[in-house]
């Protein structure tokens, strides 16, 4: 029973990691951009949530209504103002520019909010739990997991059922020919980044409710998201959720054995999967 | 007798598009083989399969007595293959001379002054010597094509594979090119040459194969092949109608 509990907790933790990963996966899927600043943007989302809750006295979940559009707008401006200029055959410019961005965001947060760990107050939600079959599961982790499923289902729907998704896929397949369809690549990429940062804002707020955070933790969140993406298989959103769950379960099992091993166990699970299945567990099948 | 290069039922498909369809042919040592066929017939894909840039869906490729079907491009090159690319692939940030040096030192196995002197000779032969210090990225298309030939020659191959190097040349230039390739052939180098400029091809090759839709549709003595009705039909639409 104890181990079942560990697996359940890990699975739910995986929902959070899938949220970290979804934005990363989306950006890579549409424009082959790997955003090193992704983790710091998650943390930025958490801090924006914190500001909204403290200034307006809103519940963190209500803060989403403000933070998601703000982050999305920021994403659009960021993409059109800076990141579009880095796209091309050479992988170095996007990598180094987003790396620079990571340092800037991290230190701006440090300057604004100080290095002290912060946490958002979600009231009763934090402690509420549901019991079933001898297991007690926190409502918040359950909500996070549900959010992850909802986010991924929505992204999946956008990608495969809407004109925007069609434009994303066409631009990703062949950006040059997509322009001949009247699609302005720069605008499409801006919209993709806006969508990705909207998801990132949700991830940041879920993170901020769940644990304390400080400006330096972005790198770690990037790595968790990245591991979930690779474990699940590039370009597969549901695979990303599975990747997040595997990572989460590996971490809780590691922590169960020795509290110092939580992160190490997650990384090792990732490296083992990389060694055995370099394309991830659920690679997208393409022609 | 084992052929120097042998393709045995080599096929390659991308989805529903087949670029090589059970291709089989032998090239004896020392032969100059010409390859013709319309654009998009799979000629360059065949080169990619032979040199290892593509790996076949099925079939076998034997080179110099070895099964090289699963070998990397680099390994096949070290075994003695060199090619030119139809779409030139220069090392753009390096000079023409450095491009030649890479081929001479990596594939040609030469060192130091010997390599330098050899490169100068080849550059002279391919009429690029006066551009030796130019960055390869700054060459015209013609210059790039010559650089492709230069690099392939600097590799000192046993099997030289040329992919459309005569297009766009003036008559005099084309004549010089034919002479260059004849000289190489005379040294015993086996040659496979894909070319649209048919008169250049006919001036050099011993035998011709015709490729269409990834299939070998004809093979034989050059003149006879060129006069065959199917070649007239598929390859030179003009003559067929005239």
């Amino acid at each position: 029973m104890e181990w079942v509990n560990v697996v359940v907790q890990g699975t739910l933790l995986g929902g959070l990691y899938a949220l970290f990963a979804a934005g990363l996966s989306l950006i890579f899927g549409v424009m082959r951009l790997v955003n090193i600043a992704h983790g710091d943007l998650i943390v930025l989302g958490a801090y924006l949530g914190l500001s909204v809750t403290t200034v307006l006295g809103l519940h963190p979940l209500l803060a989403l209504i403000l933070v998601v559009p703000v982050m999305a707008g920021f994403g659009y401006v960021l993409q059109r103002g800076i990141l579009n200029q880095t796209l091309g055959k050479d992988i170095l410019p996007p990598l180094l520019v987003t790396f620079g961005l990571s340092v800037i965001i991290q230190n701006t947060l440090l300057e604004t909010y100080s290095a002290d760990p912060q946490k958002m107050n979600a009231g009763a939600l934090e402690t509420a739990s549901v019991s079933a079959g001898g297991l007690s599961v926190g409502l918040l982790p359950l909500l996070t997991f549900g959010t992850a499923i909802a986010v991924i289902a929505t992204l999946q729907w956008i990608f495969y059922r809407t004109a925007l998704g069609r434009a994303f896929r066409a631009t990703s397949d062949n950006p040059e020919i997509a322009q001949l369809m009247g699609l302005n690549r720069r605008h499409i990429f801006g919209l993709a980044m806006a969508l990705a940062l909207g998801v990132t804002a949700i991830a940041g707020i879920m993170l901020g409710i769940r644990t304390s955070f400080d400006p330096s933790i972005g790198g770690g969140r990037l790595i968790f998201g990245f591991e979930a993406v690779i474990i699940g298989g590039l370009g597969n959103l549901w695979g990303t959720l599975a990747g997040g769950v595997i990572l989460g379960v590996a971490q809780t099992i590691g922590a169960k054995i020795d509290p110092g091993w939580q992160l190490l166990a997650g990384h090792l699970a990732f490296l083992i999967i990389l060694a055995l299945r370099p394309n991830g567990l659920f690679p997208r099948i393409d022609g | 007798m084992a052929a120097f290069l042998q393709l045995d039922q080599v096929s390659k498909a991308f989805g529903a598009v087949t670029v090589a369809d059970a291709l089989s042919f032998d090239v004896p040592s020392g032969e100059a083989l010409g390859v013709i066929g319309p654009n998009g017939a799979g000629k360059t894909s065949m080169f990619n399969l032979i040199t290892g840039t593509l790996s076949p869906t099925s079939g076998r490729i034997l080179f110099d007595g070895q099964d090289v079907t699963r070998s990397s491009a680099a390994k096949r090159c070290r075994a003695g293959m060199a090619r030119s690319f139809q779409v030139p692939q220069p090392f753009s940030g390096m000079t023409v001379f450095e491009n030649a040096m890479i081929a001479a030192t990596q594939a040609g196995g030469m060192h130091g002054r010997t390599a330098e002197q050899f490169c100068l000779e080849v550059l002279d032969q391919t009429e690029l010597l006066d551009r030796a210090n130019t960055l390869a990225g700054g060459l015209t298309l013609l210059g790039r094509k010559r650089l492709e030939l230069t690099r392939a020659l600097c590799a000192r191959p046993k099997l030289l594979m040329l992919d459309e190097i005569a297009g766009g040349l003036t008559d005099a230039e084309c004549g010089a090119l034919i002479q260059t390739i004849r000289d190489i052939h005379a040294r015993g180098v086996t040659i496979i040459w894909i070319e649209h400029v048919v008169h250049a091809l006919l001036a050099v090759v011993d035998r011709l194969i015709v490729i269409d839709f990834g299939r070998k549709i004809a093979e034989g003595a050059p003149r006879a092949i060129m006069e065959s009705p199917e070649v007239q039909e598929i390859y030179l639409g003009i003559e067929a109608d005239a």
Binding site: A163, R166, A167, R169, A170, S172, D173, N174, E176, I177, A178, Q179, L180, M181, G182, L183, N184, R185, D286, G287 | F14, G15, A16, V17, P38, N39, G40, A41, S92, G137, G138, L139, T140, L141, R144, E164, G167, G168, T170, D171, H196, V197, F213, E233, I234, G237, I238, D241, A242
Partner: protein, 235 residues
């Protein structure tokens, strides 16, 4: 002569340091079908890319319906009614056949072409409409590429080597469909390596050689030797 639909005035084009086109002058009248011929590497594809702004130019080098469009983005040129059927078809592999067609009509220009019209023209596409475009044969893929361009209801349609890599019977079919495609008022530019085919469907032609126009004239009356000379430089 009335104002041409499209005119190129001294069009130059570069790839990095390499110049692919040198001062090309060319006119297409409303409703005219023009053939572009020339050897590999003569600059035919570059010409197509320049007209559709995939390769950007100086504004006045490309003039279309009285507007200088050379410096516009490719999507802006597309929105003005110029569509390209690119060499090698270049369908979107992650889109279904139908989605490939729909995205072609995304610009929202009014005209005779719509999904039903395309399906009437190429019935096989309707049968295959939910398949991935990569699972089709080469000829069917070419139909999708043509359909995708038509969905934009263009005034000017550019065909770049539409018979490349297709079986003769399919090429015949596609050429048989061309007159129905290039209907009332639509102009077309056809790049084709099969000179006979190109001349048969066009009223005038231009021959390119090493980035320059080496010959132009009426398709019906041109002599073979003249083309041969313009094509290869020296006969």
């Amino acid at each position: 002569m009335p104002d041409p639909l499209l005119s190129l005035c001294g069009l130059d084009a570069f790839y990095g340091d390499f110049q692919a086109l040198y001062g090309v002058d060319l006119q297409v009248a409303q409703g005219e079908v023009l053939a572009i011929i020339g050897a590999n590497g003569a600059g035919k594809t570059t010409l197509m890319r320049s007209i559709s702004s995939l390769t950007r130019n100086r504004a006045e080098m490309v003039r279309y319906r009285g507007e200088n469009i050379g410096a516009l983005r490719a999507d802006e040129v597309a929105a003005r009614g110029i569509a390209l059927v690119p060499e090698g078809r270049q369908l979107f592999p992650s889109l279904s056949v139908e989605e490939n067609l729909i995205i072609g009509g995304q610009i929202g220009r009014k005209g005779p072409w719509s999904l039903p019209a395309i399906y009437t023209l190429f019935p096989i596409l309707q049968e295959r409409r939910h398949q991935q475009s990569t699972s089709l044969s080469g000829g069917q893929q070419q139909m999708v590429a043509i359909g995708r361009a038509l969905m934009a209801n263009p005034n000017l349609i550019l065909f770049d080597e539409i018979s490349l890599g297709l079986a003769p019977i399919i090429i015949k079919d596609i050429y048989a469909a061309l007159p129905g495609i290039i209907g009332e008022g639509m102009s077309a530019l056809i790049v084709e390596q099969d000179i006979t085919k190109a001349l048969a469907v066009s009223s005038r032609f231009y021959c390119l050689q090493e980035g320059r126009v080496s010959l132009e004239g009426a398709s019906a009356t041109v002599a073979r030797e003249e083309i041969s000379r313009a094509y290869f430089g020296v006969a």
